[in-house]
């Protein structure tokens, strides 16, 4: 039997100590957070997948080899956040970060910057809510056109995501 709490039964301005157990609640999982264990070289002017290899957490073991794959029974809307940081850009050079969904990119998962000065420590934060089906994949890519290879920094790159509930 379900009994609703109402102001006719209780004074809702009082304080009550809850001693029961909450069950059946939705959780924001699958959820993951990953980083780089070492710097990764990014060649000049090529969109390069960041192979995140150090997991802070990965609730459903859905992240492997730099790729998040929606597990069975977990289709839905996900929020992803990708922070990309690379070694020093020369003035006027460009850096881009983007998320590839099933190997393709859209303008909604993409951001860029142009270095305003020499020796610019550049980073970009990309966030996106994406509606995914089971088996869909999400990967993080970085681009720079400094002329030679630059490092994606272990100290600055992070990729995280989790399933939204109630939407």
């Amino acid at each position: 039997m379900t009994t609703k709490v109402s102001s006719a039964m209780q004074d809702l301005t009082d304080d009550y100590a809850f001693t029961g157990t909450i069950s059946g609640t939705a959780a924001n999982t699958p959820s993951f957070s990953v980083r780089l264990s070492a710097d990764q070289s990014i060649p000049n002017a090529a969109y390069t997948k960041i192979v995140f290899d150090s997991e802070n957490w990965d609730t459903n073991s859905a992240f492997a080899s730099g790729t998040f794959t929606v597990p069975s029974g977990q289709a839905g809307k996900y929020l992803f956040v990708f922070k990309c940081a690379i070694g020093l850009l020369d003035a006027t050079k460009t850096m881009l970060a983007r998320l590839y969904v099933n190997g393709a990119v859209s303008n909604y998962t993409h951001d860029s910057l142009v270095s305003p000065v020499a020796n610019f420590g550049a980073y970009i934060l990309v966030s996106a809510v994406i509606n995914l089906s089971v088996g869909h994949t999400v990967e993080a890519y970085c681009y720079q056109n400094n002329g030679g290879a630059l490092d994606a920094l272990a100290t600055g790159n992070e990729f995280s995501g989790f399933k939204l509930i109630g939407v």
């Binding site: 060649p43 000049n44 002017a45 090529a46 969109y47 390069t48 997948k49 890519y141 056109n145 002329g147």
Partner: protein, 105 residues
């Protein structure tokens, strides 16, 4: 080896004429999309051009090193002071940098 530098050495512009991609799967950089109206160069031609670009870039190492040192000089003030004081500090400083990073024969 496909590289942006090789394609640029052949006269093409990134994101205008081509887009490159590396899936970090050990297979290296590949052409994700070719946008130029020209036919896409062969991998062999790109590799050769990349090597030529490397050679040209390395040949300019002395110039890049000199430029860093030149930027540390307040050259206009040195020239003014030299003219006023009949000294040669500016020429001496530039010559010292050229001697430190000589142009390859």
């Amino acid at each position: 080896m496909i590289s942006a530098n090789g394609l640029m050495h052949l006269g093409y512009t990134p994101e205008v004429d081509f887009t490159l991609r590396d899936d970090s799967d050990g297979k290296g950089v590949y052409v994700e999309s070719w946008k130029s109206t020209d036919a896409q160069p062969t991998e062999e031609a790109i590799t050769t051009a990349d090597s030529q670009w490397d050679t040209a870039y390395d040949a300019q190492a002395y110039a890049r090193l000199r430029k860093v040192e030149y930027a540390k000089l307040n050259q206009f003030e040195m020239q003014f002071d030299d003219q006023r004081d009949s000294t040669t500090t500016w020429v001496d400083a530039v010559n010292a940098i050229k001697a430190q990073f000589p142009k390859p024969e």
